[in-house]
Amino acid sequence: MSTTTNRPRRKANAGKMYNRGAWKYAIPAFIPLLLLSVVPLSQAIWTSFTDQVAGFNVKISFIGLGNFERLLTDTLFWASFKIGIIWAVSVTLLALVLGFGLALLLNQKLRFLGLMRILSLVPWAMPPVIVAIMWNLLLRPTSGPIDQIFTFLKLPGAGTDWLGDFNTAFPTVILIGAWVAMPIITVSILAAIQGIPTEMVEASVIDGANAWQRFRFITVPTVRAITSALVALNIIWQFSSFGLVYVLTAGGPGGKTFVPALFAYNEAFKYGNFGYAASMGVVMAITIVLMLGVYLKASKREDVQR
């Protein structure tokens, strides 16, 4: 990804001599991957070209692009698709901003750093199922502690059903999504920042660089590569997952938080339209691959230019 790792060609060629047999080492890993990843995934992709529905002894026939044609005009799906893109991008960006901020704080010489460090890992360590249940309880109107705090401090918004209200449900779910996504970002960025040699920072201080300049010209370039990897990974994870949303709102209210992974899940398991649901998965996967391709290419170009 970065230009510094490019080693001279000659060495890469010399390396091949003894590495020729290395492919054999990949076999043990590829057998289970083939059986339980390649095969099911190919089956799922194949299903997207059929009219398969749930049930035993149902005749399955190949219908070509039939599902995709139907999907094109399915306005409900595209509404959900839009929600999914907004969800994945906003959760990732919010978690990135919050995680970056926390990493910068953790890099300072402050009191209670040990406590902060442990706390920053809490969302990661809690079983996801519990995370969803806990936030659900925390946000309950009137009996939930968050609403009680709002009422006690007489803040505007007291008495709101955060997860049930038309206007607040989606932003609230995004905030919780960011809460969950933060630790991995914080920890990785912190590690990158701590890899900056102290002499470099000291030299810049002597040269009269202020905090903003140090941030702009030392910190940002250092974390660029890891940041683009984190953004890419998070968008993938968020776009294809629905567990959190499922437990928090089940897609409601009024479909405001109906992410496409949940849409496809319902299509398959609630209505039994396996083929149609699979075509949604294919469309989602293609979209993500395209989006990431563009994003990674852009961030790579930026890397080279610098």
Binding site: K11, L36, S37, L119, L121, S143, A229
Partner: protein, 288 residues
């Protein structure tokens, strides 16, 4: 010299002012990150009677440890914790055994091969898991491992491998090839090179990958929900989720107690290993 000192003094003075907003931010983060966890802990100490009351105080009025006794003795938490532990350990060991040589191969082989492997890793991550579950369910049933913790081990292995390969590939790429070449000159076979030269250098990366795998399988919910039916094979997240109750009745106290107990091991492990974990991700991302 004097000038430098003055400069430094001015800097410390300035520093003090900016400490106020900094600590304000620290407090915000502490509340945001820690409050749900702390609240969960206080609930685990409240009696059912207290939890039923509308107007609750944040701290429990009396410490009620029965919740912990309840979840450990009556709700099969020990058994599901044992299952989860077996599953997580086996998954981690198998993933490491499979992923280390394969990660090495991907990193050191020709572009075509490693490109195809990386492409597959990406695709397997983007396709919604909820749709793979049907063919996966069929596949697990075919090998007769439905409702068995060994079926879950197999599924988790496959789920963990792509990310593990991606991380390890980064670590291998960071090892200078000259070392391996020197080994080859001395007549070492490629397996000897892998075992005696690459493996020791790769150890920090292996630890990081193993931790990721362990914690992901320890916490995983969705596959377990679909593939496990009998209470004897239940994993920890499944047991905890059951407390939400199909009747909508939440056994809040025991649930919080169980959740607290399930979080502590991960938190301790993460706390000790966070540097290693982070450098693992870094290696995968930057040297990829």
């Amino acid at each position: 010299m004097n000038q430098v000192k003055n400069h430094a003094r001015a800097a410390t003075k300035k520093r003090k002012y900016y400490l106020i907003p900094t600590y304000f931010l620290v407090i915000c983060y502490v509340i945001f990150l820690g409050f749900p966890f702390l609240w969960m802990f206080t609930i685990s100490l409240k009696s059912p009677f207290e939890l039923l009351q509308l107007d609750q105080s944040f701290l429990p009025k009396t410490i009620y440890l029965q919740n912990y006794v309840d979840i450990i003795e009556k709700r099969g938490l020990i058994n599901s914790a044992k299952n989860s532990l077996i599953i997580a350990v086996c998954t981690t060991v198998l993933t490491t055994i499979f992923a280390v040589p394969a990660g090495y191969a991907i990193a050191r082989l020709r572009k075509v091969f490693s490109g195809a492997a990386t492409g597959w890793i990406l695709i397997s991550q983007v396709f919604p898991v909820s749709l793979i579950i049907i063919p996966l369910f069929m596949a697990v049933r075919r090998v007769g491992l439905l409702d068995s913790i060994w079926g879950l081990v197999l599924v988790y292995l496959v789920a963990a491998l792509p990310f593990a390969l991606w991380m390890l590939k980064g670590y291998v790429a960071a090892i200078p090839m000259d070392l391996e070449e020197a080994g080859a000159m001395d007549g070492a076979t490629s397996f000897q090179i892998l075992r005696n030269i690459v493996f020791p250098l790769l150890l920090p990366g292996i630890v990081a990958t193993a931790l990721f795998t362990f914690l992901n399988s320890w916490n995983e919910f969705f596959f377990a929900l679909v593939l496990i039916q009998s209470p004897e094979s239940e994993t920890l997240p499944l047991t905890l989720a059951r407390f939400m109750g199909s009747e909508g009745q939440v056994l809040l106290g025991p649930l919080a107690a169980g959740a607290f107990l399930a979080t502590i091991p991960s938190l301790v492990v993460f706390g000790f290993m966070q540097k290693k974990l982070a450098s693992g991700l870094l290696a995968g991302a930057v040297k990829g």
